[in-house]
Each structure stands twice: as C-alpha cells, then as structure tokens.
C-alpha cells in the first residue's frame, strides 16, 4: 500500500536534503505549468528520487465553457516531463465565460450534467492517453434541479466515462455533515474497482456547517471513516493533503505514519473476520 504527501514549496529543501521515507508526492499540476524558474528546478530534482502524481485544480471538467486545450496541452507536456503515476482533477467546475474562480464548485446532479461531464472526460482521456482520476469535492450548496444524490452522480460519471475515482474521505465526511447524508453509506456504494486513491485532510467546524479548509490535522471521525474505507476498498494509495497553515514536514510524516497504522489495523480486522 502506498502512502504519500502533497508536495509543498515550504518543504522542497528539506525533501532534497533529508529524503524522507514515503512512497510518492502529489503535485498541484498548475503550480508547474510555467516556463522555468524554481518550480521546475525543484520538480525535476524531487522527481529524481520520488514518483509523482499530478493533481489539478483548473481542468473545470464540468464547466459549460469549451475544454481549454491550451491548458490540456501544457498538462500533457508536464505529463511527458515527469511521467506521473496518474493524473487527477475534481468532479466540479471552476468558472464560465472565461473566468476562473479558483474554487471547486459543485455540479447539479442531473442527467444533463452526467452526459456533459462524461463526454468531456472521454475527450480528455483520449488526449492524455490514460484514464483520468476524478475527485469528489466537498460542497455547501444543493440545487433544486438535482435529480440524483451526489454519490449516484459520481458513480454514473465514472461508469459512463470509464474513469477512476480519487475518493476524498474528508470530503465525504464534510459533505455528509453539510447535506445530512450518511458518510459510511456513501463509501459502501462506491464501486471498489474504480477507486484509485484516497485523500485525507483536515477541515474547520462551524455551528451549522464544516468548511473544507485543508489547514488542520485530520480529526478522529475522519480517521474512523478512513478505516472503514480501507476495510472496503483494500490497499488503495493514500495521501494526506495540507494546503494552508503548512506545518513542518516532520509533523506531516507523523500524520502519515498514523495513516499507515490505521490502514494496518483495518486490514488486520478484515483478515480476522475472514
């Protein structure tokens, strides 16, 4: 089973000097779609010692704007540069009419959206030459026109586009709280064969809602949900994301060690029951 961390600029030098023991780093693709400078310097150096996966935030696969082929060409060039383990982005949209809100906005769960997104995913997969891995986003709003649940929408897109799923366990927890659905039931209905990777992250709790801030430690309830996920899906690659309030690398490595122990415990529990 693979365990990894999001690659953050704050840790570049330490990673090169100390070569911490983990299986891979996940990059934010857009940070490296530049002509040169520090980002590509460190990317190439780190790639010499670690596998990398590419995780994008601007594909906007659900937008009604046309696909951004300039962006996709640059993404493909980056893919050829670093030969990533896989390429992922989010099942969402980020803007229309040429605007990028740089936020991962939820889609309405409709047949129109399933058809629209699936067709675009197929085009992107054909262009990149591999299956895309789509992440379930956390959300705070629901649309009157939604005909399905978030889960059914995710599964329908994955099946129709024959793509893979990056199952963000924290996002399942956050959206479950915000919209009143059972997070465990959600996990139990995701097709096992489609899940390529897990994300784990922290969030911020308010009175009536949770915001997916990725700026805090993972809470016990999310660890429990992760344990359930490992018991259902098996040894799926697991990554801890931290996007803000970035702590020292040692702290994230300790959290990753804890993820390993939770996964080992869950795997043993399954073996004992069998």
């Amino acid at each position: 089973m693979q365990f990894g961390l999001g690659l953050r600029a704050e840790h570049y030098e330490q990673i090169l000097e100390q070569k911490p023991k983990l299986d891979w780093f996940e990059i934010i693709s857009e940070d490296f779609l530049v002509s040169g400078g520090s980002p590509l310097y460190y990317l190439d150096k780190i790639r010499e010692n670690y596998p990398l996966s590419m995780h994008g935030v601007s594909m906007s696969i659900g937008s009604t704007d046309p696909l951004n082929w300039d962006y996709l060409k640059q993404l493909k060039a980056l893919k050829e540069r670093i030969e990533p383990l896989w390429i992922s982005d989010h099942l969402c949209w980020t803007g229309i009419r040429g605007i990028n809100t740089h936020d991962l906005l939820p889609l309405p769960y409709t047949e129109e959206a399933i058809k629209h997104v699936s067709e675009r995913v197929l085009q992107v997969q054909d262009f990149l030459g591999e299956a895309l891995v789509l992440e379930n986003v956390s959300s705070y709003i629901t649309y009157k026109d939604s005909e399905l649940s978030e889960l059914d929408f995710l599964v329908a897109v994955a099946e129709r586009a024959d793509c893979l799923i990056l199952l963000d366990v924290n996002n399942v927890y956050v959206s479950g709280f915000n919209h009143g659905f059972n997070a465990s039931d959600y996990l139990n209905a995701v097709p096992i064969k489609r899940v390529k990777q897990f994300h784990l992250a922290g969030h911020k709790r308010f009175e009536n809602h949770i915001i997916d801030t990725h700026d805090a430690k993972i809470i016990e309830e999310v660890w429990q949900l992760y344990s359930e996920a490992v018991r259902r899906f098996g040894p799926v690659a697991t990554l801890i994301e931290r996007d803000d309030n970035i702590p020292p690398l040692t702290e994230l490595m300790e959290e990753l060690d804890y993820a390993r122990s939770v996964a080992v415990g869950a795997t043993l529990a399954v073996a004992l029951l069998d």
Partner: protein, 253 residues
C-alpha cells in the same frame, strides 16, 4: 434550469452578489446566503492572498486596509481568467495607471513587483559566459548578435520605485520616495532562481535597445558613435558587455 443557467447563477453570486434563489435548494434565505458566502468569501480570500504575496511591497506602502480595498476594486474589474492563480495580478499595474492616474508611485511599485515576479518564471536557457565569448573568432565579431535571456526586461520609472521597494522590504525602511527630473531606466532579470534589478544610464539604455532589436555588434557600435566618441566606443561597449555577461543577461549561442 439548464446547466449553463445554473452555473451563471452561481458565478453571478460569487462575483457580483446577485442572488437567484430559484436555483438553489434551501430551507431559508439566511442559510442559503451563509452557504453561498463560503464560496464568495473563499474566492476573494484566495485571490487576495496571492495578490498580497505578489505585491508585498505595495501592501507595505499602502497599509493592509487600503491595499485590500484596492485589490477588491481590481478583482471586480479583472477577475482571474487563467488556469494559474499566479497570473491573477498581471493586470494590476495597468489597472492602477488607468483608474488612479495621479498615483504614479503606486503604479510604478506595482509594475516593478510584477516584473520581478515575471522574471522568476522565465524559461531556463543556458547563459552566455565570458569563456564562451573568448572563443568567438575575431572575424565573427562584427556580425555577432547578442541574444537576451527571456527574463530580461527594460523598465522606465519617474520615481525611485525599485530602490524604494527594496527599502520597504528591508527591516529598517529609511528611504524616501524621490521623483526623478527625467525618467530613469532599469533592467530586471533573473539568475539562479532569484530576480535582480539595476539602474542603467541613457547610453546603456541605447545599447540595450540595439541588442533588443537584434542589431549585430558592428551596427551596435556604429549607433552608439552618435553619442560616444568613436575612439572610445568599442572599449565602452566591451565594458558594459562584460558587466552584463557577468550578470547573465544573455543566452548562449
């Protein structure tokens, strides 16, 4: 509602606080606004964080509150239109020039910081060295064309914006803003993943512009003879070239 109508409604709230209640499933309006504001506030917070980082000197000069007001005014007219959040502030210098034409120092500080940032992400190309230059045969010199590294930019300021920025960013900020009698030229460039700047003289600006226009060495010297005595021009040009090669302004042949 069609998908495009739903997305239009969401974006309209994020960017203009225009609310179409019919789009959303909600128990009450206050709850809906609270949830939509998570996205709207997140949008401004995220982009303002990037702008604060890119224009740290301008923020120090204006103060946090005035800088935030300026950024909100900027984002209302120039929402991000790039897949990279790094590009969100690229139009700020022009925005200040057009919207605040009397605030010349604001625009010049912004332009300087924008140029420093842009230089950092230029293509990594091998630089011309003195050793490589010494290998050029004498007969090749007249036709030789120096090629600038893509990070190199020529700027012109009415104020001492670069030096003032440097002072702002230091711990003991003491320098005052100075208005020049004539616009002063500066070069900005990157080397080894850091950005640099220096003021240049009028003659150096003339020489730089010849190089920018890809004039060969012979033409470069001829042009400068209009301003520098002929018997001194080659020596003068060589001195400037040595300095600029040491600063890694040129790419290898």
């Amino acid at each position: 509602m069609k998908l495009i109508e739903i997305q239009s409604a969401v974006q309209a709230y994020l960017l203009k606080t225009e609310l179409n209640e019919n789009c959303f499933l909600t128990q009450d309006l206050a709850c809906l606004k609270e949830r939509l504001d998570i996205y709207r506030e997140g949008y401004y917070w995220r982009l303002q964080s990037v702008l604060k980082s890119d224009y740290a000197g301008l923020e120090r000069y204006l103060g946090e509150s005035d800088f935030d007001d300026l950024m909100i005014a900027y984002l209302k007219i120039h929402p991000s239109q790039s897949f990279s959040v790094r590009s969100v502030g690229m139009k700020l210098p022009e925005f200040i020039r057009t919207q605040y034409p009397d605030k010349v120092i604001w625009a010049e500080l912004a332009q300087f910081e924008c140029s420093l940032n842009t230089a950092l992400y230029s293509e990594d190309l091998a630089r011309l060295s003195m050793e490589a230059l010494k290998l050029i045969a004498l007969e090749q010199w007249p036709e030789w064309v120096f090629r600038l590294h893509p990070s190199v930019e020529l700027l012109s300021f009415n104020y001492n914006a670069p030096e003032f920025w440097e002072s702002l960013m230091s711990e003991d900020h003491e320098l005052d803003i100075v208005k020049y009698a004539e616009p002063q030229a500066y070069l900005v460039w990157s080397k080894l993943r850091e950005s640099y700047f220096c003021p240049i003289s009028l003659d150096e600006k003339r020489m730089f512009e010849c190089i920018q226009q890809q004039e060969n060495f012979a033409t470069l010297c001829e042009r400068l003879c209009e301003f520098i005595p002929e018997e001194r021009v080659v020596q003068w040009v060589s001195g400037v070239l040595q300095r600029w090669i040491s600063d890694e302004l040129f790419i290898a042949a």
